[in-house]
Amino acid sequence: MITYTKPPHPREHRLIFKNVDRVGWDPSIECYLRDGGYDQLKKALKMVPKDITEEVKKSGLRGRGGAGFPTGMKWTFIPPNNTKPVYLICNGDESEPGTFKDRYILHQDPHQLIEGMVIAAFAVGAKTAYIYIREEFPAAAQIVEKAIEEARAQNFVGANILGSGFDLEIYVHRGAGAYICGEETGLIESLEGKRPYPRIKPPYFPAALGLYMCPTIVNNVESLCHVKHIIEMGGDEYAKLGVARNTGTRIVCVSGDVKNPGYFEIQVGKVTMRELLYDLCGGPKDGREFKAVIPGGSSSKILRCDETFKLRNPDGSERELGFWDIPLDFDTLAACGSMAGSGGVIVMDNTRKMSWVLNNLNAFYAHESCGQCTPCREGSTWMRKISDRLVSGEATPEDVATLESVAYQIDGRTICAFGEASSWPVEAIIGKFREELLADTRPGLAEKPRNPEAEAQRRFLQPV
């Protein structure tokens, strides 16, 4: 029986977080080995690399970093006749607001990640791997580096791993506080020692051209940990967890206005919004009511708690689904116009003003735009300026329309998905809370010049 300092909820299914908050657990290799650590690596090294990828494909694992792309499929995108070195990068940037899962793996269970990475590197033929850890995790960087040394001492990392003839070096690379380093091509530029400007697509995947223009697989921390469990259970068995096309477990992070915020590892699609927010998180704070939920990190579109969605069944017929009955999986959330993203669920209750929420997010995106593309750089700043006016009571009703139109002019016109990430919250909050935002505006202000230039112009120009 595993006991925990913070017991998991009975509805949880712990694979990745099995050792998080576990009594008597520490991040050392001795502790990990006592628990069967690196057994799956031994098993994997006896397999043909292609077969590992095949198992990962069969498992149905979809990336846990944001886009939900099938992991096994991504691994096959390395050009078949490649002669260049292949790199594996673990994305531990964890900077999507609302997301706090990789933190616990890096701090408490680094060997699980290393084992997953060695297996993944063996499968894709990478001899060098980097773990990109955000700068704000200084302790994690030390813990992971120590763990790599311990693994090297036991020959789980390094030359001729366990006599298999497979060599792999793993290094930690620390970021420096920029959200855009989470975007995989921005991350690669950062690893090359440059400003993290995301690269122009195509190629759509760094698997073709990545680090140093060599084939590179980028996967999230949690995704790479799942690889170990796929080897342990076998792809088919793993695929029985969760629901069709949305397999396995995933860690959902809940923050904001709930009684018990925190992280929960659930089977994908087996828990509904109602169960998550009422059973696992204990419902709203006393005397308050749930109002809106951002389901997959701050970039995903907000959902109203009183919304109903029209979804299409596989046979073409339509059905209605209320917000509370949404199962937490990739496909249903996408069908509801949002996304499962990084698993960061941010909850707002009836005490929150949407103009304030919107302005907080706009400030984040305005600060974090890398500045390469005009629609994103200018648009995110304008959106922040307009929502600044909204919260200070200086906005006109037209401002809401302008804000919305700025958002729609970013979306789809940028180098990287940050463009969508910054405009979706605006589009969704305005679309769903327009009346509330309009109530914060002052129609009379429209007559007043809005900036010094306009004021000067008005003074000097003759009225028509």
């Binding site: 964890e94 900077s95 999507e96 607001p97 609302g98 997301t99 706090f100 990789d102 933190r103 060098t128 955000r134 700068e135 704000e136 995790f137 200084p138 302790a139 290094y171 690379h173 620390r174 970021g175 420096a176 506080g177 920029a178 959200y179 950062s190 690893l191 090359e192 020692g193 440059k194 400003r195 993290p196 140093y212 992070c253 809940v254 923050s255 904001g256 206005d257 915020p261 925190g262 992280y263 951002i294 701050s298 960061g344 941010i346 707002m348 929150r352 929420v357 907080n360 997010l361 400030a363 984040f364 600060h367 974090e368 890398c370």
Partner: protein, 189 residues
């Protein structure tokens, strides 16, 4: 070290925090630490830019023009290639923070939990005036005594225990505004 044009153009202004950090000087130990980091990127010197800047900032509190020159020389780069990295990343500083640098998370979940009020409390208690700071060019404000400095950070990936902050490399959870005094008490100077 040759005096470079950087000296004139990027010379960091002094802050009350400056006396709390050693002047830039490369020791054999730092040189060895840098070489060890460089070895993590075989054949790709430039990749060591961020790691070397981390070494500098960790030891000297911020990144001076002389430090940029040193990193550039070490990696066989034009200094501008290093400067452009320093100015891009919010995690790199060009002037001295306080002895204790406090980063408060300002993003949504922490803001809902009271992180902006926490920032106000911290400024009141340490006598910091944030009126001259902005999010881009002057994100850091230092107390008159030089011991404390504050900065807003974006989501620190612990939204479930909001509001959160960091003091130098230490991480603190659930620091509601009322706990500001208790937090500072852990860093008496």
């Amino acid at each position: 070290m040759s005096a470079s044009i950087l000296e004139e153009n990027t010379a960091s202004h002094e802050t009350p925090g400056t006396p709390f950090h050693p002047p830039f000087a490369i020791t054999p130990a730092l040189e060895a630490e840098a070489d060890e980091r460089i070895s993590h990127y075989p054949g790709n010197l430039r990749s060591a830019t961020l790691p070397l800047l981390h070494i500098v900032q960790h030891h000297f509190g911020y990144i001076s023009a002389a430090a940029i020159d040193w990193v550039a020389a070490k990696l066989d780069l034009e200094p501008i290639k290093v400067l452009e990295v320093v100015t891009f990343y919010p995690g790199f500083r060009q002037s001295a923070p306080g002895k204790f640098h406090i980063r408060v998370c300002r993003t949504l979940s922490c803001a809902m939990g009271g992180s902006h009020e926490l920032m106000e409390r911290l400024c009141e208690l340490t006598g910091i005036d944030r009126s001259a700071s902005d999010s881009h060019h002057h994100p850091i404000s230092v107390s008159p005594c030089g011991k404390y400095s504050v900065e807003f950070a974006e989501c620190l990936a612990s939204c479930g225990t909001a509001p959160v902050c960091m003091v130098n490399d230490d991480f603190h959870e659930a620091v509601v505004p009322d706990k500001a005094e208790e937090l500072l008490g852990k860093y008496p100077g």
